[in-house]
Structures are given as structure tokens and as C-alpha cells.
């Protein structure tokens, strides 16, 4: 699980710095998660099934939203806000399994989904997990594997 998390954090840091032009200041192992309204989960299956969760600070999310979309109509803004974290988890986990699959075994990626804070807390409480915080100039990005 730690190897998978390391791969995901690495691809997330590269995505943030190279594609989104946001400086990554620090990457740190954490033991308590700050649950954000900007979140997404995805399952990754190889010999076992793990769930990856991301939580993005509001300030960083606003920055990323502006980087993704140049023009946004009023009628589509809410849907795009809801969809963006799903797209981000798809990108960063997709990039990470490319390396992981080459080194270890083929992985199958599920479709992104959302869960309430309560549900996410329950998942963390019931299952072993590892989390890392990527600190950027615009805010924090937390990656968790469960």
C-alpha cells in the first residue's frame, strides 16, 4: 500500500508542478486527514483491491479550476466543480499505475466516485490506511490509500 501511495504522490506532485504550474513546497506523511468538500475516490484492483481518496483544499481547488477552464458558463459551473476532482483523481492515479504496472502487476482502475465525510471517516476507521499531504503555494492536496 505504501508503494502505491508513493507512486500516486509522485505523479500528483508532477501533475501539480508540471501541468498545473503550482509549486510543490513539501510532501509529508500524515496521520490525520482534513476532509474537504473537493474530494474523490477510485478503486484500484490488482491482486487485491484498494481505494484511493483525494482531498483538495478549497484554495488549491479554485486555482486548479481556473487552470482547467478558461471560460465557464453560470449554468455549468456547479457541475464542473463536482466533476473536476473526479477528473483529477483519474489523471493522477492513471499516471501512477503506468509506472506501477510496469514494475509490479497489471492494475485495473475503476470509475471515480464521491462519498460523504461520514462515509469517508468510516472507511478510514474500519480499514488500514496511509496518507500523505502535498503542500503547495495554493493549498494542500491529500492522497490516501485505504
Amino acid at each position: 500500500m505504501k508503494t502505491i501511495l508513493d507512486n500516486i504522490v509522485k505523479s500528483t506532485a508532477l501533475f501539480l508542478s508540471n501541468d498545473m504550474c503550482v509549486d510543490v513546497l513539501k510532501i509529508k506523511r500524515i496521520y490525520e486527514i482534513q476532509y474537504s468538500k473537493h474530494n474523490s475516490l477510485i478503486t484500484l484492483t490488482n491482486s487485491s483491491k484498494i481505494t484511493v481518496m483525494i482531498n483538495i483544499d478549497d484554495s488549491l481547488f479554485k486555482y486548479l479550476f481556473k487552470r482547467f477552464f478558461t471560460t465557464v458558463g453560470k449554468e455549468e459551473k456547479d457541475s464542473l466543480i463536482a466533476a473536476l476532482s473526479d477528473e483529477i483523481i483519474n489523471i493522477v492515479v492513471g499516471l501512477s499505475i503506468k509506472d506501477f504496472s510496469l514494475k509490479y502487476a497489471d492494475c485495473e482502475l475503476g470509475l471515480p466516485f464521491k462519498a460523504s465525510i461520514q462515509k469517508r471517516k468510516e472507511m478510514i476507521k474500519k480499514h488500514p490506511s496511509h496518507s500523505m499531504r502535498i503542500v503547495t503555494r495554493a493549498g494542500n492536496f491529500i492522497c490516501t490509500v485505504i
Binding site: N90, I91, G94, L111
Partner: protein, 120 residues
């Protein structure tokens, strides 16, 4: 200018890809969020080409590709894919996909794929 049907379950990708295609001078005539919708819309719109995500709920991109190409053998379908989907891309090519666009989406990369297919 070519007409395009954009198929992706992600609203974000549908929007970004449509904007990039329009920037390249093409006309997005329809958008579908799964394979089944794409088959219906293809029949209605008969676009010059389709950009098709591989992994989608309800009906996958490969199943939709097979359904469209089964009825319209000249249909031009370009798969949109992420890293880690190489095996699926090979399957799609064997079912008649004309090319593939690798995410993250970049204007130049998309232009090259379309130009190569339509031999500009």
C-alpha cells in the same frame, strides 16, 4: 472543418476536448456521456469523426466502437485514452479505431492525430 461527436463520461473532458477541437477549427455537433448515447447520436448526426473514451459506464468505448463500425464501416473513431490502458487501445485498433489521443489532452497532440487520419 470537420464535424465531431465527443464521447466521454467525464464532463470535464467533454468540455476541454470540445473547446480544443473548436479551437482547431472543427465543429462539435454532439456530446455523449456513454457508449450507448454515442451509438444513438452517431446515427442521428453522422459526424466526420468521433472521439471516444475507452472506459465508460453503461457501454464501454470499445463496445460502442464495435456497434458504430458494425453499422457504418467508414466511421472514423479516435479513442481517447489514459496511461495504463495500452491493452485496451490495441483491442480498439483491432476493432477498427483509426487512432488514439493520449491524456492529458494537448492541442498539438490532438491536431497531429486528426491531420494524420484525414491526411492534411
Amino acid at each position: 472543418m470537420l464535424t465531431v461527436l465527443v464521447v466521454d463520461d467525464s464532463l470535464v473532458i467533454r468540455k476541454i476536448l470540445s473547446e480544443l477541437l473548436e479551437k482547431l477549427g472543427h465543429k462539435v455537433v454532439g456530446k455523449a456521456k456513454n457508449g450507448r448515447e454515442s451509438v444513438d447520436l452517431y446515427e442521428k448526426l453522422k459526424p466526420d469523426f468521433v472521439t471516444m473514451d475507452i472506459t465508460m459506464p453503461i457501454m464501454s468505448g470499445i463496445k460502442a466502437l464495435t456497434a458504430i463500425r458494425g453499422k457504418y464501416q467508414d466511421a472514423v473513431v479516435i479513442m481517447v485514452t489514459s496511461h495504463g490502458e495500452e491493452k485496451l487501445v490495441m483491442d480498439a485498433i483491432s476493432y477498427g479505431a483509426k487512432g488514439f489521443i493520449l491524456k492529458p489532452l494537448e492541442e498539438e497532440r490532438i491536431k497531429n492525430v486528426i491531420d494524420k487520419i484525414f491526411k492534411k
